[in-house]
């Protein structure tokens, strides 16, 4: 018999019951909650007269709708305010710990989970949010769910599931200077496509993945969903364990050794079989820039916008045409000739301290181009913001003409006041370049923090590898 994959081990460790119809009841260790996808679930629970199964498995925060300036004045938009207040009320009523808008620990749900040690190896982690895949960086089985499943978890601490297939993406070799975790995952999506991982849990492995910091691994797993996979996974190693030591929700000192021993078994066996394997050479990856309206529409910064007329598949050709029309780009345009209007550094993909350091290093002692209408940095959480300020990064950004904001999702999806106006073009460190994602008619180019920062200074895309 062949060995087990990391995904197999996590799955088997959480089986509550295998039903004769082929479904499995899976136990959920951690449920993260935010204001947008939970109100209808709490309401459903109340209407059915059901109780919350286990309060201590839940952790909540308000992130999608919160303003990134003038927090003390509250939320101006009454609809958004009601949603955030509804979360506050539900958490109070059900006894769930919530980092409310003015809590120093508040932040993007996928940033605060790991930061607090509330995401641990070997856990199942769910949230009513597709980027829950982020937490898989810790050797946890983490995936996004819809609101009905949020309600199911609140009521039963379980989910009814069918097992996914196993895929491994191996990235081997040395990641070149100026190339980051963001470029690695964009290159992976460029290779396998946005539906390439549908039906799979993707384990990221190989020496290049192993060389990434925990922040970088989170960036990679974060965008597994952009490759179609609900879950991204990375095996536990020393770096995982070092990151977690001493965090508020990490195991107490008397349980630490026991926990650590259990976590060290979280890897795929040598002889484990994967349903699909993909190999990528890290050394060949250039800084990536998306040119279209799907994360798979991506090229290296030294490349050009492709020509739809050269695409053989009719449906793809039509998608490319539409994307170029929406993006206001002509085929053959060099990426370096694309000028931008706004810069957004933030989101659950790239708003951690390492991301802010990388961006600050690029802008230090420089000024944003005169043509830039807005350049903003939105830290992922209160603690990230505090850390950055203690290192003086806020001053570096401010001196370069970047706005320094309060933590939240912000212009990643523009539910609050931070958004693109129609036709505006943005270098963004977020994860989705869908039509209208950052504001109706807005044009998003996904890039790494260093690339976004450099684009802000130059007013157009530049290759950070030649930045000095």
């Amino acid at each position: 018999m062949s060995g087990k994959t990391l995904y197999d081990k996590l799955w088997e460790g959480h089986v509550v019951r295998s039903n004769p119809d082929g479904t499995t009841l899976i136990y959920i260790d951690r449920h993260l909650v935010h204001e947008v996808t939970s109100p209808q679930a709490f309401e459903g629970l109340k209407l059915a007269g059901r109780k919350l199964w286990r309060a201590d498995a839940n952790l909540a925060t308000a992130d999608h709708n919160v303003p990134t300036t003038g927090r003390s004045a509250g939320i101006a938009d009454p609809v958004a305010r009601l949603q955030v207040e509804t979360l506050d009320r539900n958490c109070t009523q059900f006894g769930i710990v919530e980092f409310g808008m003015n809590d120093p620990r508040q932040g993007i749900v996928h940033v605060i989970g790991p930061e607090q040690g509330a995401t641990l190896p070997g856990m199942t982690v769910v949230c009513g949010d597709s980027h829950t895949s982020t937490h898989g960086a810790f050797g946890a089985l983490a995936f996004g769910v819809g609101t009905s499943e949020v309600e199911h978890v609140l009521a039963t601490q379980c989910l009814l599931m069918t097992k996914s297939k196993n895929m491994r993406v191996r990235v081997d070799g040395r990641i070149p200077a100026g190339v980051t975790a963001k470029d690695v995952i964009l290159a992976v999506i460029g290779r396998i496509g946005t539906a390439g991982g549908t039906g799979y849990a993707i384990e990221f492995a190989g020496s290049a993945i192993g060389s990434l910091s925990m922040e970088g691994r989170m960036t990679v797993c974060n965008m597994a969903i952009e490759a179609g996979a609900r879950a991204g996974l990375i095996a536990v190693d020393d770096r995982t364990i070092d990151y977690l030591r001493g965090r508020p929700y990490a195991p107490a000192p008397q349980l630490w050794d026991q926990a650590q021993a259990a976590w060290r078994r979280l890897y795929s066996d040598e002889d484990a079989l994967f349903d699909r394997e993909v190999q990528i050479d890290a050394a060949a990856i250039a800084p990536q820039v998306t040119w279209g309206t799907s994360p798979e529409m991506v090229v290296g910064v030294d490349g050009r916008v492709p020509d739809p007329e050269r695409e053989k598949d009719a449906t793809r050709r039509e998608s490319m045409r539409r994307a170029l029309e929406y993006m206001g780009l002509a085929p053959g345009t060099a990426i370096g000739d694309i000028t931008i209007d706004k810069v957004f550094i933030g989101s659950c993909t790239n708003s951690r301290i390492e991301d802010l350091r990388a961006a600050a290093a690029v802008v230090k002692g420089r000024r944003v181009a005169r043509t830039i209408r807005l350049a903003m940095v939105v830290p992922g959480s209160g603690p990230v913001k505090a850390q950055a300020e203690s290192e003086g990064l806020d001053k570096v950004f401010a001196a370069a003409g970047f706005e320094w904001r309060e933590p939240g999702c912000s212009m990643c999806l523009a539910m609050n006041a931070d958004r693109l106006e129609p036709g505006e073009r943005c270098a963004s460190t977020s994860n989705r370049n869908f039509e209208g994602r950052q504001g109706s008619g807005g044009r998003t180019h996904l890039v790494s923090p260093a690339m976004a920062a450099a684009a802000g200074i130059a007013g157009r895309f530049v290759d950070v590898r030649s930045w000095n």
Binding site: V36, L82, L160, L413
Partner: protein, 212 residues
Amino acid sequence: MQKFTTLSGIVAPMDRANVDTDAIIPKQYLKSIKRSGFGPNLFDAWRYLDQGEPGMDHSRRPLNRDFVLNQPRYAGASILLARANFGCGSSREHAPWALLDYGFQAIIAPSYADIFFNNCMKNGLLPVILDESRVQRLFEQTIAQEGYRLNIDLGRQSVTTPSGETMHFDIDPFRKHCLINGLDDIGLTLEHVDDIRAYETRRRQEAPWLFR
């Protein structure tokens, strides 16, 4: 949950691959704390010429006449014909809520994104999977023939065209059972409370740090 057994309805063709849930229901409408009322904002950015915001009178907004759902021939459609990877992106269940609220009861596509597919099933919106070539044929027929209708029979797992051609589709037996009977997952899971408690007891011993 709403039951699904059979459906005979007008088909509307959504001829784009990778339609994401941001397009199905844009973020500004996700501020609602309700499950209903999303229908007028289904495909909002494609459907109207102006920029939509919650609280507007959507019936007075200028329509994009070129958008497929605004064409009179597709009025009252209850089956959405779509391309590969439909529903990718955000996990928002507001997407199936909006489709249902608009009047769709089934979708036919070659493939769906995983979370969206699940969300449909939980709401009685049937996501039928047919292979690319069949879907392509259905697109051609729908566009060629005004008032084109399909019959979907979940019990038989079949889609039947006006000319009587029948195509079989696969569906997970458990999901089929839930849809036909309108069963609520939570109620089913709560029949296994003892199993959940037994698991928790074991887990508490094996991994006590997961419990506070």
